[in-house]
Symmetry: D2
Subunit: 148 residues, 4 copies
Amino acid sequence: MNRPTPRHRHEFPHFQPITTRWSDNDVYGHVNNVTYQSYFDSIVNRYLINANVLNIESGAVIGLVVETGCHYFSSIAFPDDIEAAFKVAHLGNSSVRYEIGIFKQGEALCAAHGHIVHVYVDRQSRRPVSLPSALREALEILTQPRNA
Amino acid sequence: MNRPTPRHRHEFPHFQPITTRWSDNDVYGHVNNVTYQSYFDSIVNRYLINANVLNIESGAVIGLVVETGCHYFSSIAFPDDIEAAFKVAHLGNSSVRYEIGIFKQGEALCAAHGHIVHVYVDRQSRRPVSLPSALREALEILTQPRNA
Amino acid sequence: MNRPTPRHRHEFPHFQPITTRWSDNDVYGHVNNVTYQSYFDSIVNRYLINANVLNIESGAVIGLVVETGCHYFSSIAFPDDIEAAFKVAHLGNSSVRYEIGIFKQGEALCAAHGHIVHVYVDRQSRRPVSLPSALREALEILTQPRNA
Amino acid sequence: MNRPTPRHRHEFPHFQPITTRWSDNDVYGHVNNVTYQSYFDSIVNRYLINANVLNIESGAVIGLVVETGCHYFSSIAFPDDIEAAFKVAHLGNSSVRYEIGIFKQGEALCAAHGHIVHVYVDRQSRRPVSLPSALREALEILTQPRNA
């Protein structure tokens, strides 16, 4: 088994700061593994909402998570300042694979690296749909590192 | 019953930004009432940790919550940018009452206003202790509005 | 100030078991104060949904929380088995005050005692409405202890 | 890419009921993907604590999560009754791979299937250690389906 290694921040085109919370730490005194994944959901959806290509209240198309995964390399703890970063690793007809890194602020290598696969579906029928073109364009921007 | 009214930001001496998260919104599309209280814990403890008067890993004295309460005035929702603010409303021998306001960024009136009462105890025995002087000093600063 | 005292289980007409979770414990090794309040939301809404008087997906009327509060008496910790209990303490035209106790399984006195005030509103306008009669009936049952 | 398929309950030797919570549902009206992973942590650690082979407060050895993953097949929603199930898929010198299924109560196929990899470490140094023999024995029981 190849042990995965932490990703470098230059691999990611988009960053957002995250304020850690008291409740992020578990009984072992560091951010719980599950909490990282709540950062994943937040960075991806915030990007899409701010780009005006996702309306979580009333848009016709929503993204459902069908797969997640994460590798953890080093620990972070409230009240650390952290950043989430992501890129679009695969852009299919109705699905998108996001790869996300969680960094202590300013560090070169991530503390954790994971992914989410979204399938975009009709809000009512929950059946897959082709990615709307505005959504696709907003995601294509993030298929390359910032300085590529 | 007197209906409480939202507090003004000039009542509070200390502010911290909070990044909202996807999971903060509940099925009704706004930040769930319980989530506000996780903001309360975070702002108070972050202030104390950054002031070097609380060590959540190994300090001899820790703060346990014995009472909380909150009034909700208007809704906020991920991905809104928000701020938490607090003041020290009562400083006893071993207990402290914190009053906290949650504001949409830049707004004059809070979306919610609540309180926490901490009793400071010995980490091992969990019995109340007099507030250590450094902790008391860090809290006295916050008994008055910023421009008082 | 009168220090509140823990309530007895015979004060409550309705109980539900709750399975504690790893993430309920905070860095101090017990269930975090905020988590108790997530139990409050859950017991009240589960009762109303199971009684067929609240449809959180599509009902015309929903309950918004305008006030919460809690006193904490003793600690509980994952993986303890616990129970939530509640009664209806006040039934207004559009608002309801729920009082909730959190008990270690089988104990006579609660570990924490709190309340939520719901205002029932039209889902679209978010304006208060009179409690629908089926909802009112389901709540009247819980205004008295079980064996009153 | 082979699309994974939901696992059958007969693959799992150990089950625990989980009470869903109001806060488990996200804005799309179903249990959020991240919440499933909090179920994973809970079922594994509860089993180990109840078997007296893990002491999260003061034991010399603790399990840190180095990898997680999950595939989602169908949705569940508060207030559904659900069960978590797990087996030990790999038992190394210091690491353990747990595979977990989340089931609506009584259903044959899981709604989600995931895994956690724990590395057991010394609490102080956080360096990997060989699995203590009592812990290893408690885990060996779960390497086979119940009726194997």
